[in-house]
Symmetry: none
Subunit: 89 residues, 4 copies
Amino acid sequence: MTAPKDHNSRSRNGNADDRLRLLVERIERMEEEKKGLGDDIKDVYNEAKAVGYDAKMLRQIVRLRKMQPADRREMEATLEVYKAALGID
Amino acid sequence: MTAPKDHNSRSRNGNADDRLRLLVERIERMEEEKKGLGDDIKDVYNEAKAVGYDAKMLRQIVRLRKMQPADRREMEATLEVYKAALGID
Amino acid sequence: MTAPKDHNSRSRNGNADDRLRLLVERIERMEEEKKGLGDDIKDVYNEAKAVGYDAKMLRQIVRLRKMQPADRREMEATLEVYKAALGID
Amino acid sequence: MTAPKDHNSRSRNGNADDRLRLLVERIERMEEEKKGLGDDIKDVYNEAKAVGYDAKMLRQIVRLRKMQPADRREMEATLEVYKAALGID
DNA sequence: ATTGCGGTTTTTGCCC
DNA sequence: GGGCAAAAACCGCAAT
């Protein structure tokens, strides 16, 4: 089924339409907020640039800090893989 | 210049350090919020799917509503032209 | 079991090593080829753009042609329903 | 402009249509090849699995080998960034 | 100014 | 069906 059915013909599907519209509007509101946050972040980068920092490098730092835990685990896991692959237990 | 210079040797560059750290932390906080919002949006799509909507088409709708009507119609028209040329439909 | 065992201790697991290395290298070679093809495809899109076509709509067309006609029509129909419900067009 | 114009009405736009069709078909051929390569790669993973290797781990190894040079450079660059940000020349 | 390009994010398809 | 890897769209920058 593609969409909820509305068997009350008197409503001219107003109920289903409203349900859809509500969902879409909730999403749009959140996406706006999300976009606002994205803009704020961009502002901070510009502010940083304005006081002499290199935005690209800042992004690199942020990315690196984010990646550290995940990456360390991945490296560890892969190390285990190598050992296993080479038959060292 | 890559970073602000701090000519007061007594500070041992603590000021520059703090400035950088502060910027990075502000960004990280905002990115976290942004990620949370993204997760919330995904939840709404799942909720929509749970009541019978096609999430992929929903995304398409949200995209269409973001566009200017004129642009949207132009896109749609172009697509129709190409479809006709290739015998689609 | 994670990897094939090599019980011939004299080989110092050279066989397992080589087997792994060989597999990885085969994969890497194929992935390179695959990437080359991807670049070629991009070139064609650029060429199309250069003679006046809208690359994004072209991609859409290619996607549509890949689908089963029945599926394509179903998608299109669903989208129309949603558009109508939200008063688009 | 969205598509090349064909002012020769006698041709019923056959020329423009053919041009489009040709482009699309070239793309489709290449995408098929690309897909074939993707399938071949998948086969190798399955073959590896069949002789006891863990495909997921193999993928990790391949990814790691691909990332190594880029990642090392990124780390180096970021190190420089840190130094610069802290005013150490 | 315009357009190609690198990188970031979003979407899609896949395997478990 | 939910998470993960590949593809596509989007954006700002740079270079011409």
